[in-house]
């Protein structure tokens, strides 16, 4: 076992499920590493961690992880996760999703999960396109970018994942990139520690589709762009709006307190049971 990956080997289903499905240069594996290191740093046992996903390249992640794992239907990770959390509130639930999974087909579930403030951590890998199906546009594809279904350039405006989920009620919202790995480890750790619906958007290259279609260079070049085109919240605070245009802002973007849904529901059960009250 190589000494430089002590955590990873403890948490991977190494013998059974490798090699993985991801392309060379894809960033999804880096996000998986960050999740592992965040869980490890919290000292959580593998039995109490549950990883749920939808469908897509990102959503293939759970099969490699030696936690409780569930690979659901396209867009439905959070709906399954809601049932699991309510049936067993002890489980610590991480939902991993691609941008299409989370915000197109799963858009309804994510805003309602945020509104309920159910204790789930959503890790959204944003590669600006649908990787698995060959690079079609997603709700996060920037204007004018080329994808297989926007061959003349994207004409729809994009969602800002973090702004959307802040508005929908998430108590913790952060953005990182797979270039800034140590920072990403920390953001995911903070999200996991937060009680309530927490979100980490991880910007990640898809060199095979989005990168090639937009001539963004090879995987290394795409990683360098994440370095060059992003700033952290502290830097952003010192910049003028015109300097910030086109920059990815990294860091914790929202962190507030609100009652958590599972707690409220259990409290409701206790109240109803102790008073013998019967609803109308």
């Amino acid at each position: 076992m190589p000494a430089e990956f002590p955590y990873e080997h403890k948490y991977l289903r190494a013998k059974k499920k490798f090699p993985h499905v991801w392309c060379p240069g894809c960033g999804i594996g880096i996000v998986m590493g960050s999740i592992i290191r965040a869980v490890d740093s919290l000292g959580w046992s593998k039995n109490e961690v549950m990883v749920v996903s939808g469908i897509g390249c990102t959503s293939r992640m759970p099969v490699y992880l030696d936690f409780n794992t569930l690979h659901t239907m396209h867009g439905r990770a959070l709906a399954f996760a809601t049932g699991i959390k309510l049936a067993n509130p002890e489980l610590r639930i991480i939902a991993v999703m691609g941008d299409g999974d989370a915000l197109a087909i799963g858009g309804n579930h994510i805003i309602h999960s945020a509104r309920r403030n159910i204790d789930i951590t959503a890790v959204i890998v944003n590669n600006y396109n649908y990787g698995m199906t060959g690079g079609q546009h997603s709700p996060t594809t920037p204007l004018e970018k080329i994808t297989k279904t926007s061959p003349y350039g994207m004409v729809e405006p994009e969602f800002d994942i973090c702004e959307l989920l802040k508005a929908a009620g998430s108590v913790f919202v952060a953005r990182g990139t797979v270039y800034h790995v140590i920072e990403l480890d920390g953001l995911i750790r903070k999200a996991l520690e937060k009680k309530g619906f927490s979100v980490v958007e991880a910007i990640s290259p898809c060199p095979t589709n989005y990168g090639r279609d937009n001539r963004l260079g090879d995987a290394v070049r795409m990683m360098e762009s994440l370095r060059d085109d992003s700033v952290n919240v502290a830097q952003a605070a010192r910049m003028k709006p015109e300097e910030l245009a086109g920059k990815i802002v990294r860091g914790v973007l929202a962190d507030r307190e609100a009652p958590e849904y599972t707690d409220l529901y259990l409290e409701l059960c206790r109240r109803v049971r102790s008073s013998g009250e019967v609803g109308e």
């Binding site: 289903r13 059974k16 499920k17 593998k46 039995n47 109490e48 549950m50 749920v52 469908i55 759970p62 099969v63 030696d66 936690f67 409780n68 794992t69 569930l70 690979h71 659901t72 239907m73 867009g75 439905r76 709906a79 399954f80 996760a81 809601t82 049932g83 699991i84 959390k85 309510l86 049936a87 067993n88 002890e90 489980l91 309804n108 579930h109 309602h112 529901y265 409701l268 059960c269 109803v272 049971r273 019967v278 609803g279």
Partner: protein, 380 residues
Amino acid sequence: MTVPWGETRLVQGNEAVALGALASGVRFFGGYPITPSTEIAEILARELPRLGGVFIQMEDEIASISAVMGASLAGAKSMTATSGPGFSLMQEGLGFGCIAEIPFVLVDVMRAGPSTGLPTQVSQGDVMQARWGTHGDHPAVVLAPATVRECFDLTIRAFNLSETFRTPVILLSDEVIGHMRERVTFPRREEVEVIERPVPETPKEWYEHYHPTASNVSPMACYGSGYRFHVTGLTHDRQGFPTRRRDEVNEMMERLKHKVARRLDELVEVKMHDVEHSRVVIFAYGSVVRSAKAAQVMLEKKHRRVGVFRPVTLWPFPDREVKQHLDEKDVIIVPELNQGQLIHEVERLTSDTVRVIPVQRVDGYEITPDEIVAAAMEVM
């Protein structure tokens, strides 16, 4: 509202479904309101918190069936209830439940379609959707109540079958049965059998979530029990990991098929009323059974003898019973609240010498006994 064990009450069909669920130990309901099923959700919204169970109104039916499956995988007896439009939205989830072998109960209180159709008048238009609505080959277990008491009994049976066979079970009710009130004498507690899913006894490192057994059903661990396993909608091996190996693909598909096809005796239920001695038989299910039985009495007064054959289990279809009891008859009358769904199964199983006559209605009204009598008089 608790189950009035051993007592006699005036009860509505949907209420009896909710009581049957409570009798079975349901601990999770996820749903989205739709008439004519909503009473089931409303009753469980009131009762489940009092039992420490979970009621949640999800954002749509896709979310509902997904949450229900999540809860079942975490160990809770789970259910949802809906009607046509919602049932259509649940179809992808139903297939996930079949391939991932997740026990839960789905109640579809049928209303007239297609689409919004006739909200919310009666129909039996979802019989084929219940069998083939989700994509791909898959097992289907579907039960159809004809009385309010059966709403109670068959809900319990649906839970028992789903936990025993590790598969979704559909209770296919309809607007007439769901909204009808009837005098029901409930069984005593000790008369009702409630089955819990088999749980693994193997050491955790040996556990296979889809272990092949003689019954084709593997004991099932739940999330959070210390057994760590993977569940996917991809075709998978015994451990639940995706596979394309042909031997493993075929093993999984065969097992899914055989777990139902090889245990028909436990699944298929039919009820027969004077079928043996009649040359003419009415084949009816769901609320239409009531008109069929009334027609039988009316015809008897006219000195015409007809039998009533009713499948309680619609799927798997009672092939053997139909062949055995109906293939020698002169005429089979098939009244259905659709443009012809189960009639084709009856035709498939009977010889050309048997006349199979439809009586169909899709205008939102129940088929009357008179209509069945008229059809019978034409051939008798």
